[in-house]
């Protein structure tokens, strides 16, 4: 317990009290606090445990880079693991728990790992756990996996809402410090569309906590005045609490807005977070710079912080890390901390400056700083240590598309690469350490046209640094990657073992792979690795920068497309009618199709069987609206279809329909369907439900890319028409009752007729005499808005004939009875011949797939082709997916003869039967094969037969 609340100052509202819980204990803080500052103010400096050694850890930074102070925030479905206490705004009722400790944060069994730390060095696990072999699966790995991770994820669904949105601007400004504000202001004043985003809870950047002087005001006052002006402009969008997490091709930026993370529960209708995709004509990176820790023994003891963080807590949150502080630095900036702390009445014990040959060797203390010992043996008692190893421009975003940052000796840091005019770094992100430079930089970057306006006068703090990387005298552990417990010693070890490439060292030691992605530690690691490998830092270079600058919740990327709204639902025009009829619906792609229409006490099989019987014996009505319908018009429509289909359509007479088969250019069957000719220059194509979109795109390609000279136009009319199949011996009699002024017979509506008619006193309709069921059948299409009404009318008309609605289950039973191929057989690997449709392939014309279909492998007589199959034991049930073997053969893939594609229980033949693909099958009708269905532990004999199980003479088509 060393931290405390300063008696005055800070951007907190002391008139408010916010109660919160950490590890079950109650505390309070003020509006304006974040969780870390409130804990410090309450004297809590132990906030978490590290990954490998379970070391006690406190907060080390004051922002997004925090590796230590990670908590489980909130509870139940709202629980968030690994949440950085430094980024959590305090709210009334906040509940947080520390992580990766058992049983408690103070006493953590896992800490024994650090005793064995001399063995648990980088990569130790690659060298052991191999004997005895069986132990890995049974003992070692389960142990390792149990140790995995830091926080625990909720198992409940997230009750909050998420949103996605797009934004566009002339200038995106990333970061709202002096550089960003100046850039935004300059651009905005010249009328540009500006977006200013900052991950912080409040705009202002470092001006919210640094003692600066701009235009005779404090830096804070100046910033608030600028922000107020920006807020008043219609062409400016201010986005606080918004992290730009990634830079993508086309100057598109990904951003996460934490809309309601600062409250216990989002307001009604409001999202928790909003994910933005920002298309920026230009963008500037005004992300500032990150202060680096120094590498020395015990640099992870709670109470050790980077110097700017310590003054950040003191100045902005009035939270002091301790009553007495030792400062350890290799550059000037830490002097600001000394000055600011003194001003707050915090005692600064000493400033240990490596440039004067002074070093802290070790920080002594377990759960808090007791004292530090120096290179000369001196000991300084103190409660906290502020360290500064220099400043690294926050180049991350600029390097996410492959460009590498450039080492700059004078500020001992990597500075951004030049990635072109679309995206420029300014201010400290560009390596400028002086406020005046940052402001000037911003003004320059914000200048859209004309000359750059003058920038306000300001006070500059001198900055100078002499790099210093590692106190080798340290006896205690000196950490590089705090969260993953990578120490300074691990890097030379990696180099020694051949993992000296910066990327290999990263992977071998896991440096930079934790939730903070090495924001604090990577440069230290690179410097030490470079030294160990006898290279310069510039030669060593950095590891690859990747999205995301800070981690992004799954929920934000998913937005509103969760649960039932994952994908849109597509309903047919007959959906209401089907619902009235008690349909059970099934997902078919995005469509919901009526699957069967159960009556009291029927399961799907009983229902489907009844539907089939009733249809084959009387009449049935089925919704087939999902079939793709493409209107194809133009002078060359016929010629075009001849090239798309393997059979011919230019010869089709007007008012007629024809079954068509389409191949892919590689000679394999693509799709099928009936296409009708409505006029000389007008065809209507139908496609399978599954391939409708692909066929459309194929048509567009063939015309636009292959044969643009053809005069042909096409558009999908799938949704314009409600289409129903009316099938069964009584279909004609039923339809007759609703068609206007036309007697249906084999002259007016012969088999394969396609004609425009009207029904129910004037409703436009198209009548096709086609049949998938094998019955005397029609398909009737009416404009979608009339669909339900017409279907109801047909049900009435058919009532006297016992009409039933039937679903896709019954449809599929009937097509299998008839041996009509569908999805199970059109599987993207079958040829026309395999499907028994080889005769359709014209030899008189060129068409898609003609040539490649002639390859030996596609005409090999041993290919698997469609056959019928039925169990020898006629009472037995068969299932799809069973493989076929010659009776004598032992089970093996080498002996595999094919498999069962589709099965159905045929109510007409009162048995299970199916369609299969069988090697050289057409020659094997009558053969008895062995069916291997090991998955269901079911092996049985089956008889191969003609695919047409029912009404082989097709008599019923014409009854």
């Amino acid at each position: 317990m060393t931290g405390f609340r300063l008696s005055s100052g800070g951007l907190i509202d002391r008139s408010t009290t916010l109660n919160f819980k950490f590890d079950g204990k109650s505390f309070n803080g003020h509006q304006g606090d974040n969780l870390a500052s409130a804990l410090i103010a309450n004297g809590v400096n132990l906030m978490g445990r590290s990954f490998k050694y379970h070391r006690p850890r406190g907060v080390i930074s004051a922002g997004a880079s925090e590796p230590n102070a990670l908590v489980e925030l909130r509870e139940g479905g709202r629980k968030e693991a690994n949440t950085r206490a430094t980024m959590v705004e305090l709210y009334e009722g906040l509940v947080a728990k520390s992580q990766n400790r058992w049983p408690s944060l103070n006493f953590d069994i896992g800490a024994v790992n650090s005793l064995a730390s001399s063995i648990f060095v980088a990569g130790f696990y690659y060298k052991t756990f191999m004997w005895p072999k069986s132990f890995w699966e049974k003992i070692y790995e389960p142990l390792i996996r149990k140790a995995a991770g830091l926080g625990t994820a909720s198992r409940e669904a997230d009750p909050d809402l998420y949103e996605k949105s797009y934004a566009h601007c002339d200038l995106l400004v990333v970061g709202s410090g002096p550089a960003g504000l100046m850039a935004a202001l300059t651009a905005a004043r010249s009328g540009a569309r500006v977006i200013l985003a900052d991950e912080g809870s409040r705009l202002g950047g470092s001006l919210l906590f640094e003692n600066e002087e701009i235009a005779g005001q404090s830096g804070f006052e100046w910033s608030q005045a600028v922000i107020a002006e920006l807020a008043s402009m219609p062409n400016v969008t201010l986005m606080p609490r918004t992290t730009i997490f990634g830079w993508f091709d086309g100057n598109i930026f990904g951003a996460l807005e934490r809309v309601n993370d600062h409250v216990a529960v989002p307001a009604p209708f409001e999202p928790r977070q909003r994910y933005w995709r920002i298309q920026a004509k230009r963008a500037v990176l005004a992300a500032g710079a990150e202060e680096r820790p120094l590498v020395f023994g015990g640099n992870d003891v709670p109470g050790v912080m980077v110097a700017s963080a310590m003054r950040h807590y003191a100045n902005r949150y009035a939270a002091a890390a301790g009553k007495s502080v030792t400062i350890f630095t290799n550059n000037d900036s830490a002097l600001r901390t000394a000055a600011d702390l003194k001003a707050h009445g915090v005692h600064v014990e000493a400033i240990i400056d490596t440039r004067k040959g002074r070093k802290i060797c070790n920080v002594i203390g377990k759960r808090g700083v007791k004292f530090v010992d120096l290179e000369n043996g001196d000991i300084i008692p103190c409660e906290a240590v502020a360290m500064s190893g220099g400043w690294s421009p926050i180049v991350n975003l600029m390097c996410q598309r492959g460009a590498k940052p450039i080492w700059n000796e004078s500020i001992a840091a990597f500075t951004p690469p030049d990635v072109g005019a679309e995206f420029k770094a300014i201010g400290s992100a560009a390596g400028h350490m002086l406020l005046s430079e940052c402001l000037a930089d911003g003004a320059r970057a914000g200048t859209v046209k004309g000359k750059t306006p003058a920038t306000p006068k300001c006070r500059d703090e001198a900055f100078a640094i002499t790099p210093f990387w590692w106190v080798k005298e340290s006896t205690g552990k000196a950490f590089i990657d705090y969260q993953n417990d990578a120490t300074a010693k691990d890097l030379p070890l990696a180099a020694r073992e051949g993992y000296g490439h910066v990327e290999l060292a990263k992977r071998y030691t896991t440096t930079g792979m934790a939730t903070d992605q090495g924001k604090l530690g990577n440069v230290n690691a690179i410097a030490i690795l470079a030294e160990a490998s006898g290279k310069t830092i510039a030669e060593m270079g950095t590891t690859t920068f990747r999205p995301f600058y800070t981690p992004v919740s799954f929920g934000a990327f998913a937005g509103p497309f969760t649960g039932h709204h994952f994908q849109p639902v597509r309903k047919t025009p007959l959906h209401d009618w089907a619902t009235e009829q008690g349909a059970v619906f099934v997902e078919t792609g995005l469509w919901m199709r009526s699957s069967w229409f159960p009556r009291e006490g029927e399961d799907w099989l009983a229902s489907a069987s009844r539907e089939v019987k009733a249809t084959r014996e009387g009449v049935g009505l089925c919704d087939v609206s999902t079939l793709g319908k493409i209107d194809i018009q133009g002078k060359d429509a016929g010629a075009f279809l001849d090239r798309l289909y393997c059979n011919t359509f230019s010869t089709l007479s007007i008012g007629k329909a024809r079954y068509g088969l389409m191949l892919r250019e590689d000679g394999i069957v693509f799709d099928d369907g009936t296409t009708s000719r409505l006029a000389e220059d007008h065809y209507l194509m139908t496609t399978t439900t599954a391939n409708a979109a692909r066929v459309m795109s194929h048509i567009e390609f063939c015309h636009q890319a292959l044969w643009p000279e053809l005069d042909v136009q096409y558009v999908s009319v799938t949704e314009q028409w409600a289409q129903m199949a009316i099938a069964g011996p009584k279909s004609r009699a039923t339809l007759q009752k609703i068609v206007d002024g036309l007697t249906l017979n084999d002259e007016t509506a012969p088999y394969l007729a396609a004609k425009d008619i009207t029904v129910l006193g004037g409703i436009t309709a198209r009548l096709f005499r086609i049949s998938f069921s094998g019955e005397h059948a029609y398909e009737l299409a009416v404009p979608a808005d009339y669909g339900n009404a017409v279907a109801r009318a047909i049900m009435q008309a058919g009532h006297e004939f016992g009409i039933v609605p039937y679903g896709v289950e019954a449809l599929s039973i009937m097509r299998i009875e008839k041996g009509h191929v569908a999805g199970g057989e059109l599987n993207g690997t079958t040829t026309a011949a395999d499907l028994g449709l080889g005769k359709m392939m014209s030899s008189k014309k060129d068409y898609i797939g003609r040539m490649m279909a002639t390859r030996e492998g596609l005409i090999d007589p041993q290919r698997q082709c469609v056959v019928g199959i039925k169990p020898v034991d006629r009472a037995m049930k068969i299932r799809s997916g069973g493989h076929l073997l010659k009776q004598g053969d032992a089970p093996s893939m080498a002996a595999d003869q094919g498999y069962i594609c589709s099965v159905a229980f045929s109510p007409m033949l009162n048995m299970w039967l199916g369609l299969a693909l069988l090697s050289n099958g057409r020659a094997r009708h009558g053969e008895i094969v062995k069916v291997f269905d090991g998955l269901r532990g079911h092996h049985y004999l089956a008889e191969i037969c003609d695919p047409v199980h029912f009404d082989p003479e097709n008599r019923r088509l014409h009854v």
């Binding site: 993508f248 298309q279 567009e700 390609f701 636009q704 890319a705 292959l706 643009p708 060129d846 040539m851």
Partner: protein
């Protein structure tokens, strides 16, 4: 990644469907002797690291098939024309 559709202007990549190498040309002949050309047309692809002319359909927009010029290494898009107007470089 933004693609300049001649009809719709700059649109993001998710509105497009890609079909790869646009240098392939469908043979005219159905003579068995032309099999090698068919073979190449259907299976062999230019696949350069660098500038690339590729088929892409604005499937989430105007549905036009385009030939897009894009650098496969940098993803820099340098232009797009309608596939119907695309002039293939004569093969050397």
């Amino acid at each position: 990644m933004l693609i300049p559709c001649p009809h719709c202007g700059n649109r993001p990549v998710e509105e497009f469907t890609f079909l790869g190498d646009a240098s392939v040309e469908r043979p005219q002949s159905n003579d068995p002797a032309s099999m090698p050309q068919w073979q190449a047309y259907v299976y062999e692809r230019e696949n350069p690291r660098g500038n690339f002319a590729e088929y892409a359909q604005h499937s989430g927009g105007c549905r036009a098939w385009l030939v897009v010029n894009r650098n496969t290494d940098t993803h820099q898009v340098t232009g797009a024309v309608l596939a119907s107007a695309f002039k293939r470089k004569a093969k050397s």
